[in-house]
């Protein structure tokens, strides 16, 4: 009990004084996971919208791939990206190993399937009669897609939050390709793991509190989006 009490007291002190190690890890987490999620949104929402609207041969297979991607083990992604950016790997020339771009790449591969898959589901969940109504109002295919994205924006926000939630709390891939370099590629999860292994529970608890607050905020926004009233 004493160990826990000491840890909590130290955590409070580190949070109140904005401890540089805690601040660096939190900001690195936000930058890396935020960038990966932004890239996943930029590519995933158009692709998910296309998958939700279009009918083509192989669509089910493609959706199955996307759904499989939503459950990819982070360490497998970490291994794949590590091989890619390894000095002698196909992208070795970029010199990304143990850098934030490698972490962003790995986290993008983890977040994108979630954004694509949930976007496709959101677009497909729109009443088929609404699509007909919009076409009847004179919408082009492009206008239809834009209107459906606007109409499902709260569900898409859920997709974005789910993507962000998946990467902000992952550790395997980030550790493998980022190497946990202090002040650079050390993020909340990798820092918590390191501090715990060293017995520095105060620092680990402070970092965990920040991580939990972020995850709670994501879920709060998602819940609000899902519970909003909709037009008849």
């Amino acid at each position: 009990m004493e160990l826990i009490a000491q840890g909590i007291a130290e955590a409070i002190q580190r949070l109140v004084t904005l401890d540089p190690d805690v601040r660096d890890a939190a900001s690195a987490s936000l930058v890396v996971s935020g960038s990966a999620t932004a890239l996943a949104v930029l590519s995933g929402i158009p692709l998910g919208t296309y998958l939700g609207l279009a009918r083509f041969r192989g669509r089910s297979f493609f959706l199955s791939l996307v759904n499989t991607g939503m459950g990819l083990p982070p360490v497998a992604v970490g291994l794949f990206v590590a091989i890619l950016v390894w000095r002698s790997g196909p992208l070795g020339g970029l010199d990304w190993y143990c850098t934030r771009p490698a972490m962003v790449t790995a986290q993008y591969l983890l977040a994108a399937p979630t954004v694509i898959g949930l976007t496709a589901v959101a677009i497909q969940s729109v009443d088929p009669m609404l699509r007909l109504q919009l076409l009847a109002l004179g919408a082009t295919r492009w206008q239809l897609a834009m209107l459906l994205v606007q109409e499902t924006r709260l569900l898409l926000l859920t997709a974005v939050m789910a993507g962000f939630g998946a990467v902000i709390s992952e550790i395997g891939a980030s550790l493998m390709v980022g190497c946990n370099v202090k002040g650079d590629t050390r993020i909340l999860t990798t820092a918590i793991a390191l501090d715990t292994s060293k017995g520095e529970f105060g620092s680990a608890i402070a970092l965990a509190v920040i991580l939990l607050v972020l995850v709670f905020a994501i879920n709060a926004v998602t819940t609000w989006a899902q519970q909003r009233p909709r037009p008849a």
Binding site: D127, Q133, A136, L137, G138, T140, R230, P231, A232
Partner: protein, 360 residues
Amino acid sequence: MTVLEASGVVVSRGTREVARADRLAIEEGETLAILGPNGAGKTSLLLALAALLPRQGELRLRGEPLRDELAYRRRIGVVFQRPLLLDRSVRDNAALGAELRGATRAESRRRAMETLTRLGVAHLADRPAAAISGGEAQRVSIARALAVSPELLFLDEPFAALDAPTRESLIADLARLLREERITTVLVTHDRDEALALADRVAVLIGGRLRQLDRTEKVFAEPIDAEVAAFVGVENVLAARVETATDEITLMRVGGATIAATAAPPTEPNVLLLIAPDDVVLSRGRETTSERNVFDARVQAVEPIGRRVRVTLDCGFQLVAHVTRQSARELALAPEQRIVASFKATVPHLLPAHRDLDSP
């Protein structure tokens, strides 16, 4: 002038044909109701006419063959059974069609406010669509369709999801609007009252086929066959044999009774005699009626149907009458009661006998 002409239009699902219109023309300013039971293919036909469903056949809008579906859809308006509003303000919903068709935001909003005013919902303009009632939402949906000044308006059972008072008030307002502004309209409905209230002409669609297309009064008074008769509410379809026919009157035998009709008989002696239940009058005694066809009857069943009461009678043949609730109370109608049933000689409509019905 013909606004829309459909020739050989066929809608299929897989290999099954769900609706067909060999020739259908909608004239400028008229309201045509496509009336039919559930599953008759009414909505499929409407979607095909609105170029919203794949189809065979040809559509011509003001004589121009349909080549570009988007351009065609930008000349029409469609209102569905549900309002299908977007998650935005009432004004923005009403302005959407005009905006999609290239009008500026200001112009779209001006047109939206105009039609919202005509539909009596301008006061809701700033409200979110999610915060208005179903009836108000359907008014907004109609306003949205009218805001694009459509050359042809399609209405797909727009009152079906509304409660009775809301429905009645919207039908009355829409009837006034369509009449005053001479908006060319195709209304799809399964409700006879809606067709009677709104339509200049009625096309009866049963089993995916247009069975009768004529002026509204004519379809309801002179259905073309027993199935159409049953659907337009002519419950009494009696197999009869012509006994004598003069220029003025035709006398027919039905069961043990004789019925007189002013309608000219078909060439064959076996006929179907159609009598609308609303045209049958019930009274306590023969002295109170001057009708040509008067029968002593026994009440078999009395069933309330909405504001009316359906009375099944045995007159030597079975006859159904619809009376008001007040009449039913005054006559104290009950099973086994003796009553007098009568109807004018102008009431029966005669058709050649259907081979499936037994002749007397």
